[in-house]
Symmetry: C2
């Protein structure tokens, strides 16, 4: 007599993924839309986040979670100076945030009084791709001076994205950046990815990005 | 009668450090000087390596080890196109090279016919700082567009450096980069660090950097 085999159809979640679902539920319970902003060091994450806050703070209640590998509060201070609640998470040398750090960080925010949480992940194109945080959208900021070959060299992070912000577009005249080559690389990894070409300096593309984000916040509220 | 206590003065080495010493011995047995080039993604590692090869290839026999997180040969191809032996190591998603990968990679190079090995580590400011490769000098390339706050945000990598190359100096007129603030941060972490301000585009600072490296190669040979 053969033994009965039960088909296992449920996906086995890692400890981090399980905790990320808990964090997601915390966001959802409070009607908060949350984004995970990733980028290489110096791609302009904080500048773009500050410009995004300028656009959306008149309409929405925003908080920021700052991930850093060292106990420096440079970015958190910049956000707090705008009167926006900011929590700094020091990963203690780790190259990414994880769901456990997020869960702890959220305890320091007034969740009942928020519409949007912007998470600034550690500056890194590799590690953050592998760790879900419970956020609703993965955002990558790719700066013009980093070069047009990054999708080819760091494919994993591009594959998991919901939206791509090209930053420092104002530097394009001074840099040999083949936009077609860059976009071909992105399209191969993540077909149809929503992309905004922006400059925190000139303001280009920021209204379009803010409008996209605003629609996501509203759609999330009305679920 | 009290038991005799033997003072333990030998530092306990990690498995990676032990293997790094083996790799170092392989370099030394062949009179090879080896450098570990680290940087953020898009800081211009490959461009600066190519310019360094231009300067030194008439005098020294050079090879390059390319670390990548994905099976792409963009950088290795650029080096090989110059007629320089190049080995590509795919870390399989890992955010750094390690001594074990180096040891394997060296098997593919003609060690008896080399004076200098340039290792291009994975683009990352966090993970490579924690993994010795057996090389003789740690080099960081910090690009102007990354911003002047990087020493403050990524202190560990600056602390372990033997030389710092500031890259993309030609972009300084277009970027709000406070050189004094940057250098203060570096000085606090690594006093007196040898630093060259360079541009692969204009050639600025490359002769000085090549001369520094040349002296290191010669001093190593004469040990």
């Amino acid at each position: 007599m053969s033994s009965l085999k039960v088909p296992i159809v449920q996906r086995i979640l890692s400890a981090n993924e399980t905790l990320a679902e808990t964090v997601r539920q915390r966001f959802d319970d409070h009607g908060i839309f949350a984004i995970n902003v990733m980028a290489s060091p110096g791609a302009g994450k904080t500048s773009l986040i500050l410009r995004t806050i300028e656009k959306l703070a008149p309409t929405y209640r925003i908080a920021v979670v700052e991930g850093d590998t060292a106990p420096v509060t440079i970015d958190a201070d910049k956000v707090a100076n705008r009167g926006i609640p900011a929590v700094q998470i020091n990963t203690g040398g780790d190259c990414h945030l994880d769901a456990s750090m997020m869960d702890s960080g959220l305890n320091q925010l007034p969740l009942s009084d928020l519409d949007l949480i912007i998470v600034e992940n550690v500056g890194n194109l590799i590690c953050p791709a592998a760790f879900q945080l419970g956020t609703h959208a993965n955002v990558l900021i790719a700066s013009i001076p980093e070069g047009d070959d990054k999708p080819y060299k760091y494919p994993a992070i591009y594959q998991g994205l919901d939206v791509l912000l090209i930053s420092k577009l104002d530097l394009l005249p001074y840099i040999d950046f083949r936009m077609d080559y860059f976009k071909q690389g992105v399209e191969a990894l993540n077909p149809g990815l929503v992309t905004f070409a922006t400059s925190a300096k000139t303001g280009q593309g920021l209204n379009e990005w803010a409008e996209w984000l605003s629609q996501k916040i509203q759609a999330h509220r009305q679920r």
